[in-house]
């Protein structure tokens, strides 16, 4: 029951946050220089007067301010994120077409960096002063300092040009072999480089975090107890210590998922990956404001949902905070 009440509170909170994002979107349209109707149409003056009149009517731009806001929110509530005059499609449809590639890219990079990062963190925490440990620290520092788009380009130069074992751009080859397996392998082949680019950045963070967290846990009393009762080192590390050390990693992965989803813009642009980030880039180039504002709202939605799920997962993993 307490869990349900707390869940209800969280949901209310989420709705409030999303409402705030929408109000910000609305404010941006009105604060931007120029006619709001032109901002909504989102082109550099290429829209006909009829279209502008249609937008003014549809969005009630001749009405008082609060009526306009309510009209806007009403449209969003019906699942209408606006219409892209550049792509000539509803924004919702545009986003829907691009969600899956981004999801594939972000999830695979996240899983790779979390698993490998935790593993490296545990390894280095066991011997914090070893040469390998310093190497990992150095690597994570470098990974954090390199611009992600540049890492991607360097990987492209190395593995698509100097030693061409991976395709240059896109998600699928132009000439496709029939069959599901061939298609899946083709996508996987295209996925490797963008996934690695994204994973390198996050790998640095996860190895640092899990190292710190593991060092913290290894100093606690229950680990000494586990060792005292004569458990093997492997059992102490992987069964007792890791369970607690992994909690901050899970939190960070959950919180980061949403931001990664939005931050894939640069990687998707470098690799011409047909995802939401690339769509954001394309719509920016064309000053297609309904699309970019729609993506902004959709990304905030993803962040909020990811945070909510992280919270729930945390409750499942850590029984200590069940009734909070």
């Amino acid at each position: 029951m307490a869990l349900l009440v707390s869940l209800g509170h969280r949901l209310l909170h989420v709705v409030g946050l999303l409402l705030a994002v929408l109000i910000l979107n609305f404010a941006l349209i009105h604060l931007a220089p120029g006619d709001p109707a032109e901002v909504i149409a989102g082109t550099m003056g290429g829209v006909t007067e009829e279209v502008l009149a249609e937008i003014r009517r549809a969005y009630g731009l001749d009405q008082p301010f609060h009526v306009q806001l309510l009209t806007y929110l009403g449209r969003i509530a019906q699942g209408d994120l606006g219409y892209s005059y550049y792509f000539n499609l509803p924004v919702v449809q545009l986003i829907a077409e691009r969600v899956l590639p981004t999801l594939l890219l972000v999830l695979s990079a996240l899983i790779l960096s979390v698993v490998l990062g935790t593993f490296l963190g545990v390894l280095t925490a066991r011997k914090p002063e070893s040469g390998f440990s310093h190497l990992i620290t150095l690597f994570s520092l470098a990974g954090n300092s390199a611009p992600v788009f540049w890492t991607g380009i360097v990987l492209l130069i190395l593995f698509a040009s100097v030693w061409p074992i991976f395709p240059v751009t896109g998600m699928q080859s132009a000439i496709r072999e029939p069959g599901f397996l061939a298609a899946a392998l083709d996508i996987l082949h295209h996925l490797v480089l963008p996934m690695l680019t994204l994973a390198i950045i996050y790998l640095a963070q996860y190895s640092r975090l899990s190292r710190a967290s593991m060092l913290d846990v290894l100093g606690s009393d229950y680990i000494r107890t586990a060792r005292a009762k004569g458990l093997s080192e492997r059992k102490v590390i992987f069964k007792h210590a890791l369970r607690n050390a992994v909690l901050p990693v899970i939190t960070m992965a959950g919180l980061q998922f949403g931001n990664m989803f939005a931050g894939a813009v640069l990687v998707e642009t470098v690799f011409n990956w047909p995802g939401m980030g690339r769509l954001a880039f394309e719509s920016i180039l064309r000053r297609d404001s309904p699309t970019i504002l729609g993506i902004l709202f959709f990304s905030a939605l993803i962040v909020v949902i990811a945070n909510l799920l992280t919270d729930l997962a945390y409750r499942l993993v850590d029984p200590r905070i069940k009734l909070k």
């Binding site: 954090n144 300092s145 390199a146 130069i157 949403g258 640069l266 880039f281 180039l285 970019i292």
Partner: protein
């Protein structure tokens, strides 16, 4: 090693010599080879970006040689880009925009973050919950996309870009400042200040803030690195100020030619990498220097 004795009456001469915290931190910082290397590297980069344009007054946008000439095959040391512009001149001139935007945006994020965090942590109650709601709202917004939207809707000038980066990067500062203020306001010297009826503004600015500074300085350093990466990313996407040469813009405009020419994208990238790396090293060094637990080593 010179140390200042804070004991004016000259009593207890045998007691351990006490340093002012700033000097103590500097002493620790100097011992950290990586951090000093970072500082030297950053100073060099800043010097090159500030003095370079004075010593070599050229136009980085000028076409000087055949397009995509590799390094070493002409008088232009780093070769030329896809239009035939000097890559070295671009790197020397391109750092200024990146550094100015990065540092100003980081300062802006610290000012906003400390203001919000200090108000929340000091006052508590409804002020705290309101400030934290605002912070949470900005944390939910995807930073890069918000900055992109702001720059698209308004014009891509250096000011817009700086403000956009500042607006998206303050929430972490606010959380840290709030936690520090919550911790420090319980301490005795703050209660003492209150007992002599010091004003709220005085307690926040003169009593608590100086004691909350060390972690905030570390965060400011890290934020500068992030802001530089941010600026580079935006310029790479073509959202930078088109009239200013910048490292990100060089990479972005040459990226269609990477399969035939590696230098116009790789070299500016190394410049960004070294700048951010040196700032991270300094940040790590400051973090250790301010940590009293590490001092005795």
């Amino acid at each position: 090693m010179t140390t200042v004795n804070l004991n004016p009456a000259g009593l207890e001469p045998a007691a351990a010599e006490i340093c002012p915290p700033g000097r103590e931190a500097w002493r620790m910082f100097r011992r950290n080879i990586a951090a000093v290397a970072g500082l030297v590297m950053l100073c060099t980069i800043v010097l090159v970006c500030v003095l370079g344009p004075v010593v070599f007054p050229v136009d980085p946008f000028e076409i000087v040689w055949a397009p995509l000439t590799p390094p070493g095959e002409s008088e232009y040391l780093f070769g030329t880009d896809y239009l035939g512009r000097d890559v070295l001149a671009g790197i020397v001139y391109g750092g200024k925009a990146t550094l100015v935007v990065g540092i100003t945006a980081a300062l802006l994020s610290v000012v906003i973050g400390v203001t919000i965090g200090a108000l929340a942590g000091y006052h508590g109650g409804w002020v705290d919950s309101l400030m934290m709601r605002i912070t949470e709202f900005f944390q939910v917004l995807p930073a890069l996309l918000l900055a992109m939207a702001l720059i698209t809707l308004f014009s891509p000038t250096l000011t817009t870009i700086t403000v956009a980066i500042g607006i998206v990067s303050w929430p972490a500062v606010a959380r840290l400042a709030r936690a520090e203020f919550l911790r420090i306001k319980q301490l005795e010297f703050v209660r003492a200040a209150r007992a002599i009826s010091a004003s709220d503004a005085r307690i926040i600015l003169r009593v608590i803030l100086p004691n909350a500074l060390p972690p905030l300085i570390v965060m400011a350093a890290l934020n500068t690195g992030t802001a530089i990466l941010f600026e580079a990313g935006l310029s790479f996407l073509g959202l930078g100020d088109p009239s200013q040469m910048s490292w990100g813009m060089m990479i972005g405009s040459n990226r269609d030619y990477i399969l035939s020419a590696w230098w116009p994208v790789t070299l500016p990238g190394i410049a960004i990498f070294l700048t951010v790396l040196s700032i991270s090293l300094i940040g790590d060094g400051l973090n250790d220097a301010f940590n009293p637990k590490l001092r005795e080593r």
